[in-house]
């Protein structure tokens, strides 16, 4: 059902060009060039406009053709800036950005329960820049992350030539990484997962309402929470200025204690997540980066 692909809209040489621009002139030069590139895509690439439209039509259903062009420009510009920021962190260092966190006390209180902690993120803002604000937790952070062969956009640790500071759990591993994820939570560690995109089998998703339609979102995080007693929080990042990000705890989600095999038991949790994401989109309409048709109704 999901039509998401990790294939980048930009070509490899275009990514390389921006990396060179960052090295030569820093983030500002790359932003400057980005404006022209985005304008070109919005004016001449039907595919780029199509990919923007899935979300924009839901978020701004009343918009006319001209407004939609402007919105497409803003959405792609924001996305481009996030990619530039991500590369800037790797090339120039994390100190290029100021990252603040809203909800630190709540996160510390949840960690103090010693049941592990599940952070549900989404493809919004720039989690890689924002995650640097989680250093205070002093506990290992594990990411459920699938990287496809042929991905051309690089993570900041790729640019920096360092090992990823987080332990990556591959969902294509044994039993989808389920045992590994349980193990880290039992050790009281942090597990970070994306809650807005299906990876693999649609049976691992539940339907929820989102921006006036129905989408499938994964429920594995809530299932893990039910099994281990780990608390779950919806944590989203957003860009607040040219060189600043904020990471915000939007909601603490309580998973059912025991559920058996029934996926429907997790629908309320998934809906809470979707409601949080919808609230995010209201506040930060151009920082939602799912360029595919998530909606099936």
């Amino acid at each position: 059902m999901s039509s998401w692909s990790s294939r980048s809209l930009g070509r490899n040489w275009q990514h390389q060009f921006f990396y060179l621009a960052i090295r030569l002139g820093g983030r500002r030069l790359a932003y400057f060039v980005l404006n022209f590139i985005v304008a070109w895509y919005v004016l001449f690439s039907r595919e780029a406009r199509r990919r923007c439209r899935f979300y924009l039509e839901r978020r701004f259903p009343q918009a006319g053709r001209r407004q939609r062009l402007v919105q497409s420009y803003r959405l792609l510009q924001s996305f481009g800036q996030v990619l530039i920021d991500r590369a800037t962190v790797g090339i120039c260092g994390a100190d290029q950005f100021r990252v603040t966190l809203r909800g630190k006390e709540d996160l510390l209180a949840l960690l103090a329960r010693n049941r592990g902690l599940i952070l549900i993120n989404a493809h919004v803002g720039c989690w890689q820049v924002a995650m640097s604000a989680l250093g205070f937790m002093e506990t290992p952070v594990n990411l459920l992350m699938q990287r496809e062969e042929g991905d051309i956009d690089r993570h900041y640790f790729d640019h920096a030539g360092i090992e990823c500071p987080y332990h990556i759990i591959d969902p294509r591993g044994f039993l989808g990484g389920a045992l590994e994820m349980m193990a880290v939570l039992k050790r009281g560690e942090v597990l970070s997962v994306m809650g807005d995109r299906m990876l693999g089998d649609d049976r691992n998703g539940v339907p929820v309402d989102f921006l006036g339609g129905r989408v499938l979102v994964p429920y594995s995080a809530y299932k893990l929470a039910a099994a281990t007693g780990a608390p779950v929080v919806a944590l989203f990042s957003y860009k607040t200025g040219p060189a600043s990000y904020q990471l915000e705890l939007f909601r603490t989600i309580t998973a059912p204690v025991s559920s058996g095999r029934d996926a429907q038991a997790f629908v309320p949790c998934a809906q809470e997540f979707a409601d949080s994401l919808a609230a995010f989109c209201q506040r930060h309409p151009f920082q939602f980066f799912n360029f595919f048709n998530m909606w099936y109704e």
Binding site: L175, G176, L179, K186, N204, K223, A227, R261
Partner: protein, 84 residues
């Protein structure tokens, strides 16, 4: 009741495999994919079931991978842990 028999019974009850009877579950049938047809999320439930009914914890993948192959391997794992 042997560990294998109890395991089949609790799997049917707790994982809602009501269309199966214990006799229809072969000891060496694969638990995941082809065979019993469980999936990765069922693995989470299975770990909980084993702890709840047998008092045995599957701590990590090193323990889980060989144990979660079939009823036989899981029963053997439980018996070994209970004997320790």
């Amino acid at each position: 009741m042997s560990v294998k028999e109890k395991l089949k019974k609790v799997l049917i009850e707790d994982l809602n495999l009501e269309d199966l009877t214990p006799d229809e579950i072969d000891d060496d049938m694969a638990l995941f994919g082809e065979g019993l047809g469980l999936d990765s999320l069922d693995a989470v439930e299975l770990v909980v079931v084993v702890q709840k009914h047998f008092g045995v914890e599957i701590k990590d993948m090193e323990e889980g991978r060989p144990a979660l192959q079939s009823i036989s391997t899981l029963a053997r794992f439980i018996e070994e842990k209970q004997g320790q």
